[in-house]
């Protein structure tokens, strides 16, 4: 497997959807190609760091306020009829 082929399969590999022979071939490539190993490892870390970051969490007070506004508007919509949204 060449580096470009590894890169082509990287997303499938990280998502765990590679067939077994390709996965073995890719892992064999990673065992000797340091650059591809680093790219693979740091890309995985990138995904994990964003997934675990709790970036843009909705604060509880804002959440309550938004939900209440949504439900009030839904009630108004129901009274006015379906053509208004």
């Amino acid at each position: 497997m060449k580096c470009s082929e590894f890169l082509h399969e990287l997303t499938n590999y990280l998502d765990g959807v590679l067939d077994e022979p390709t996965k073995i071939e890719l892992e064999n490539h990673l065992s000797w190609c340091h650059n591809c190993y680093v790219v693979c490892d740091t890309t995985k870390k990138t995904i994990e760091i964003y997934r675990d970051s709790q970036l843009y969490e909705l604060p509880e007070d804002l959440r309550t306020r938004l939900r209440s506004a949504i439900m009030t508007k839904c009630q108004q919509h129901k009274k006015r009829g379906p053509e208004t949204v």
Partner: protein, 216 residues
């Protein structure tokens, strides 16, 4: 090195029952759907718009639109995927209004030039999260993802932050599966490279490298 585990996928078994009750006019069932997905919609909206007020508007508008169009919702697909599609469209509309001189669409960042090949291979520190406190780290992550074109960050947030499958992401964005995969790869590699500028492994003052890189 194993595969990334998805974070989402809460119980969906009673989702259909809630949707059907909401269709019959049971507003408490709809409110339960709001409770279930408001955090996700907010995160998606803020990732796309990069603006807190716009994200709040998108949450309200997306749920209101879903409420008004519930009768049209085909129950073959998941309610959440349908809701995400509405929210993404609302968020993109916000972007268009803010940047009237530019057309913002999911296709705007499809370039002929293939820039997905890594230019920087430099390794990261073994525990980049520990280099910064929580607030600093959030700022880095936020600034880094802001630099990504909207079409890339939308795919990244749906797949990697919200944990939708490739097929669900494709359905929510009305893209093909290969298009989602191609954008996801580019988004992941661009973020990796940009974060690397902060997290790059450095020589310590005593001449030793950061520990933790010897277990390949």
């Amino acid at each position: 090195m194993g595969a990334i585990q998805n974070r989402l996928e809460g119980p969906v078994t009673d989702e259909l029952a809630l949707v059907q009750a909401a269709k019959r006019g049971d507003d408490s069932a709809f409110e339960e759907l709001v409770r279930r997905y408001d955090r996700n919609v907010f995160r998606i909206a803020q990732h796309i718009t990069q603006n807190r007020e716009d994200a709040e508007d998108v949450v309200q508008e997306a749920f209101l639109k879903a409420y008004g169009n519930l009768a049209k919702f085909q129950e073959q697909s998941k309610f959440y995927t349908w809701l995400v599609r509405i929210a993404v469209n609302e968020a993109l509309m916000k972007l268009r209004r803010r940047k009237p001189e530019r057309t913002v669409s999911l296709d705007e960042d499809i370039k002929t030039e293939d820039d997905s090949l890594p230019r920087e291979i430099a390794d990261w520190s073994p525990n980049p999260e520990q280099q910064y406190n929580q607030a600093e780290l959030r700022e880095i992550l936020s600034k880094t993802i802001q630099g990504l074109p909207p079409g890339f960050r939308t795919v990244f947030v749906l797949r990697d932050v919200e944990g939708l499958s490739t097929e669900e992401t494709a359905a929510a964005l009305e893209l093909s599966v290969p298009a989602v995969k191609s954008r996801l790869l580019r988004a992941r590699l661009q973020l990796r490279e940009r974060l690397g500028r902060f997290f790059q492994k450095r020589e310590n003052g005593d001449g030793q490298r950061d520990s933790g890189d010897g277990n390949r």
